[in-house]
Structures are given as C-alpha cells and as structure tokens.
Symmetry: C2
Subunit: 477 residues, 2 copies
C-alpha cells in the first residue's frame, strides 16, 4: 500500500489524512482489508499506537468497518475522484451581495504605515492611559460578570448608564427600555435599514455624507436622494416632494463639514418627517466634542412625535476597536429592532458592556472625555494656526469648533490637481484624504478632511508646514 | 415669566429645559427679550452663573439671538405646540421586519431564576476558573493591542490560531485568508442568508433543527424545506428534487438529536450540492465535545468542490456572552462575506479577539476544552444513569456520546400530556424543555432536550430522581 504522509501536523493526523484520501479516490477499494496495525507501523516506521489511533479515527468517521482484532475493512462508500477545491458552476449571490459588490470600495481611508504625518479622519485619538485603565475595567468585569448572560437589548446596567449620560450631556430623556446596545454605529445603520427599508425605498442623505452609511443603505436596496448642506446643515427647503422612508442626518456636527443644523431647520425637519410619515436617523457620532460651549442638545430632544431614531457611539470617544454604540428607539419600532438585533447576532459581548457600565458609573468615562476634549481642542487650534500660517488663503476652512477633523476647501483646484496634491503629499510622508468619496454626485469644489486625532500638537504644526510646502509645489506646476 | 423647574439633574439643565419648552410652545413668543441674567437669578433664587450658562446654551442651540450684555432675544423659530411622544401615522416596517414579527417567539428557552434544577440547553458550562483566566487574558490584551485596529476579517493572529486549531482538531485545512471572525453562530447564519438568499429562495433544514437558524432564514425571506433526520442524520435520499439555494446542516452532531451524519450521506450530500449548484452551511456548533473517540472530521474536510461554508463557535466552548465564532469560506464567496460583515458591523471587537488568540496560542484554550470535556462526560454519564434508574423504559434516549445535551422521547405522550409534565415539573423546581419548537411541522412524538451544562453530577442525579417523580405523577393521571 502506497501512502504518502504530507508532513503537516502530528503523525497520526498525517496517516489518517493519507488513508482517507486513498479511500476516497478509490486507490484502496471498498471491502479491502487494511494491513494489521503492527505491520503498517513497521512499514511506515512509526509507532503502532499512531496507526491504532488513525484506524480508530477512520472507524469513527465511517471510512472503515470491523473491530480492532478482527481486521479493518474499507467501508462501501460510493467513492468519487478527489479534486482539490476546483469550483465550477458558481450561482450568483443574492441581490444584497450584488449591490454590495457594486458599492464595494476598498479605497476607503485606512491607516497607512510609514507615513510621517497621517491626517486620517474617523479614528479617535488614543490616550495611552486608556489601555491600562480599560484593561483594569475588563479584568474587573470578567471577575464578576455572569458569563452566559445574554441580553438582546444590551446589559441593563449599561443601558441605565447610557440614559443618565444622555440626559446629562445630550438633553435626551430616555428610559433603559428605549435603548438597545449595538455593535457600533455601523450596526445601528444596518439594523435601521433592515427594519425600515424595502428594495426601492427612498432614503435622504446629506450631501456630502458618511460613505459607510451610503454603502450600507445601497446594499439594502435603498434609492438614495442626496440633499444639499450649507453652513447651517441640511437645506430642509430642498427635501424631496416625494417623501422618503428615512432621512439620515448628523445634526450636531454634520459629517464631514462640521456644520450645526440650525434650530429652525431642526423644527422644519421634524415637521417634514411628521407630515410625510417618515423616520429620521440621527447619527450623533461626535456630539460630545464641542470646544466652545456646552454640547448642543440632540435633535431627539425636540422630537415629541417619536420619529427620531437616535444613535450615539462609544467607539468614537473610547477606541475604534471597541465596537459598542447605543440606539434610542421610538416606541413603535422597539420590538422590531430587538428582533433584528437578536436575529443578526443575538447580543453584544457581555464583558465589554459590563466594563463600560462600570467605567461610566465610576466617572472614569467622563474624566476620559474631559481629557480628550481638552487635548483635541489644543490639537484643533494647532491645526488651524498651522493652516493659517502655511496654507494661508490657498484654502478655506469650514468648521465649527467641534469634532475630530476639519474640512479645508482647495481654492482653484479641480479633481486632477487635487489628486496630484494628495499624491505628492503622500510621497513626502503626509497623508491627506479627499472629500470626493463622500459625495453621491460629483462635488463642485475640491476639499480635504484633516483628521487631528492621530498627531500631537507639535506634529500637527510640522504637518501643516509640510502641507504648505506641498501647496507651494503645486503652485509652481 | 413663569418657569417651572422639573428638579431633574443640574439646575442649569433644568433652567435650559424650562426655557426651551416655553419658547417651543409659544409661551415666550419670538422677539421677546429675556430678562437680564441677574434679574432672573434673583427671581428664581439661583446663582447668576447658572442663568448665564443656560442662556449660553440656548444661544448655542439657536433658541436666542443677541450677545450677553446687549440683551437676549428669543429667535424667530416657527413654533409648534409641544406634545409628549404622541405618535400617529406609523407606516408599516420593512418586509424583513414583518417576517421577523411573524416568527418572533419570545418563548425561546431562557435561564429561569429560582428553579432548583434547570436542564436548559444551549448554554455552555461555566468553569469558575474561567472568569479569572479570561480576565487576565483581557487585561493582558488591552495593554498591548492597538485599540483602533479594525480588521474586517478579524484579527490575523486569531485567524491563524483558528486555522491551526481546525487542522489539529477538525481535519479542516484552511488558510487565514479563508477565515472570517464573526459575532457568534447567529451572525454567521445571518451573513450567509444575506449573501445567498433572495426572498422566495428555498433553504433545506434538518427536521428538527436549531430554531434561531429557522427564524433568521425566514426573516430573510427564505422558503424553508425541512428534511427528515434519522439515527444517521439527514436522510439525503429525501432531499428535494427542486434544488434549494442552501442546505443548513449539523453533521458532526445533529442539533438536537445528536445523530452523526454517516460517511455515505456526507458524500451524497456533497454530490447533491455539486449537482444542483447549491451551498452547504455546516454548523459545527459542538463538534469538539465528543467523549468516546477523537472528534469527527468536519464535512468541510471532505469538500473538494468548495461548496461548504463552515461555521464553528467559541461561545459554546468558552461562554455564551463572548459572541465570537469563525467561518471558513469557499473562495468564490469570500469577498461577498467580507463586504456583508463590513457593512453589518465593520468588525468584531479587537481586545476580545487578541485575548482569545493569546489564550489559544498559550495552550490555555485547549486545557480549558480538555477539562470541560472531562467534566461534561461525567455529567452526561450521571444523567444517563439517572434516567435509566428513575425514568426507566418510560423514555427512550437518542444520543451519541457527544455534545452538551441529550434528547429523550416520552413514550405514549401526546402534546397535551407533554405540556402537563413540563408544567408539573416546573412547579416542582425542575426546568424541562420540549423538542416541539425545533420542528417546522408537528412532530409525531414528544421529546425533551436535557441540557447538562448547568448542573453538577450530584445535581443531575437529584434532578433525574425528581424527573422520575414527575413521570410517576403523570402515570397516575
């Protein structure tokens, strides 16, 4: 009997694999008596125990019949030729998957390695003290948490803490029963699409907007309608006459421009939603980070008709890999969201929730926020000062004193020139990110998102000096 | 000016809220000059700083215009009467949500409090040593993990460890690129439905089967076809002539009966899938727990045509609240699953993944498994011994020496009698769970799932004694 051991893993596994392959491709036909274990062991120069173990395994899996002692016979399986993962006849995937293919954009901004100054946006700053503080919270939570406790809506202690926090900081009055803990803002958007959107339903987005909301909604079959924004946020007068099912907005700090939706427009938006029976998804992704005054109350706090689905995230204020966010739901939708969460992934991990609830209860969370806010304010000021000094009137800054990035518009640039600037900067160690991918329709001007979470005050200054040099270079082109 | 402070939270918040309410419902009309801060402070007997802060907040939110010093005027907002969360005109939710409503079954088995002996299935046993061991791993991982690192497919170290584990224990050869880490088996099922199922597509399930797979698939619009199982698992001869899109199976240990799919049927199933161009979802939910021999190799290990989507879970071998599982994907589907995962919730939490990767690398994971297997084997034997002694021939045990629960069939019981038994047992502190909810069609016999993870050997013995008494009671009825 010719058996080739492939050298991968324990000998017993190799032998089992080799015997199976020979049985399956018919080299050892059905009914054949396998050699006695002692004999095969001698032939292969391995221990008899190994052969016994392999036979035992083959027997357990139905490849051989008979008992040790009375001989082992290859079972009468209907053999078929062995082929290695050659796949033919691949049927098309679902319409969901096909739409997801169409919007698949692996060019989304990612951390680059090896850039001296990376102005990537969308990732929170990491305070090195957080690693240890968070580690302590996790170890503490692991010690006392009931490990099998799975609550679909999320751990009740975390929902209670979230309500307290929302009342204190965001003006939102909610009870723990109104809250569902989800795996990041992305899941909040996805669940909303599931619960509300049928293929072909219209959804209004701000123009420009968060690209992952765009992609998730398109994958669910939504028809997107992009409505213009200006310095006061979404231009509510331009909301479509054909009412959408859903309006996705970032009123506290429009992503990416930073505009704050004015009070009049907030009321207009709520009236529109009520009049047209549509829902509003309020993504309050970084409402906490406002440097000039108290944070603005959320749109949800004005929502007496219970039309606003409110989403806030812990990942932005703690760290991106946390994957925890919360939704405050209109009562009419609560059960549907719970079902969708349950059927999607049952619930969020229990220990991280317990750790976060304690971190909030204990005050560590708000201390972390305060420190972060102070540091981000200093960074933002350094960035703006650097821009004024080195970029001058070659850019226009659009921003409110809030958030974790700002937008600069490039004067007199078209797409090609903007791409050339970004490429030149990248070559020289400066990571810049264009605003274009955040538009549904081609934008009329070129802009950059400058994220200031990843660099220190000094680095931001140096980065802006380098940015100025890049603009100088382009001026000479 | 009449202002009622509601006594909730800081004074400044109360005042802001009261002023907003008055402005919004028109009690303070647009254009009104608000009283000077000093005056209002005196009137309300609060500090002037509090009033200043409230005005500042109202200004930031657009409720008032003007500057401190020159007077504050209520903005010209289009006011509307204040109503408290009265919702009218609720449009129907999506078809997904409507289908989810139809299968919503909040009667799914849950941990009962206050039962002396609860034979709930589906939850792993908890080894108290795990809380501490896992806490140490989390604290360790938190200290060195890059907190913003978000990998859609899952942390590469965990994918590598998963591949090593699968090769060693499940006979599955996979590369880290083939693996996606997901939030539990539930998410694996959900993503599979997303990527493969359009409304109306047929999906084959074993009869009986895992109820949450059933519910998730129905919510996605699948038409379910239940195929009979016997002591060798799915009866492949009875697979439908109209080919389904997907076949969901538990070949290592049929849920819930425990039957192992025979080798001949495994080959038949793979041939059927190839012939009819359909996909197989192999849910290997507790293949690790087999007490008589080496665990069976997974169906995926025989799958040369790359038709099998393989799912294994860490939640069953560690703890239910972990929410981590892994999929091994056919190469043709890899990108579609990555897109679906990305758009669903971006990625799994990073620290838990890092902790698990280290736990596996360090050998702690397999030590935990070994201990768990030994303990579960002892419990299973105690349960079977107790059944033999106290239930005798009033029940038939269907099981292989594997898993975390076993099925007993009740001789001569109909549905009503079975319900009466369960209710009587519950009254006397014994939690029993019927097999009926796991059937698509009405089953022909009555059975119970006895989970043995939550009780010790002694408790299981006592529980069976009590079970015997419950049967005695029913015999006297």
């Amino acid at each position: 009997m010719f058996l080739e051991l492939d050298g991968r893993g324990p000998l017993y596994d190799q032998l089992t694999r080799a015997l199976k392959a020979s049985i399956l491709d018919g080299r050892i036909p059905a009914g054949t008596q396998l050699p006695p274990t002692r004999e095969l062991a001698q032939e292969l120069e391995i221990s008899r125990t190994t052969v016994l173990a392999a036979y035992e395994q083959l027997r357990a899996e139905g490849f051989i019949d008979g008992r040790v002692g009375s001989g082992s016979f290859v079972s009468h399986l209907q053999a078929r030729p062995l082929q290695h993962h050659v796949q033919t006849n691949i049927p098309p995937p679902s319409r969901y998957a096909q739409r997801a293919r169409a919007v698949r954009n692996w060019d989304i901004p990612r951390l680059h390695r090896g850039l001296r100054y990376d102005l990537l946006y969308g990732y929170p700053q990491i305070n090195p003290a957080l690693n240890n503080a968070w580690g302590r919270e996790l170890a503490r939570a692991a010690a006392y948490t009931r490990l099998n406790a799975v609550e679909v809506a999320g751990l009740s202690t975390l929902r209670q803490q979230t309500c307290d926090y929302l009342a204190r900081r965001r003006g939102v009055q909610a009870e723990p029963e109104d809250v569902v803990i989800v795996s990041g803002t992305q899941q909040a958007i996805d669940l909303t699409a599931r619960v509300l959107i049928n293929e072909g339903d219209h959804v209004v987005l701000e123009e420009p907007h968060y690209f992952l909301a765009h992609q998730a909604l398109v994958a669910h079959g939504a028809e997107l309608v992009a409505v213009r924004t200006d310095q006061h946020g979404l231009v509510c007068d331009e909301l479509p006459t054909q009412p959408p099912r859903l309006i996705y907005v970032t009123p506290s700090h429009h992503f990416p421009s930073g505009a704050v939706l004015s009070m009049q427009r907030r009321l207009d938006l709520l009236n529109y939603a009520e009049r047209h029976q549509c829902w509003i998804l309020e993504d309050d992704y970084d409402g906490e980070f406002r440097y000039d005054a108290h944070p603005l109350a959320a749109l949800r706090s004005l929502d007496e008709r219970d039309r606003v689905i409110y989403v806030g995230t812990f990942s932005k204020v703690l760290f991106g890999g946390l994957r925890l966010a919360y939704m405050v739901l209109p009562s009419a939708l609560r059960l549907d969201f719970l079902s969708a969460k349950y059927l999607s992934d049952m619930a969020c991990p229990v220990i991280e929730q317990a750790a976060l609830a304690h971190f909030m209860e204990d005050g560590g969370f708000e201390r972390h926020l305060r420190l972060g806010r102070k540091e981000l304010k200093a960074r933002r000021e350094a960035l703006v000062a650097g821009l004024n000094e080195y970029a001058g009137d070659r850019v226009t800054i659009t921003d409110t004193p809030a958030g974790m990035h700002l937008v600069v518009w490039l004067r007199g640039y078209d797409t090609a020139r903007s791409e050339a600037l970004i490429a030149y900067a990248h070559e020289h160690g400066l990571g810049l990110y264009p605003i274009n991918p955040l538009y549904l329709h081609e934008p009329q001007r070129q802009g950059l998102l400058l994220g200031y979470c990843g660099l220190s005050v000094n680095e931001l200054r140096e980065a802006m000096q380098l940015f100025g040099q890049c603009l100088d270079h382009m001026d000479r082109m």
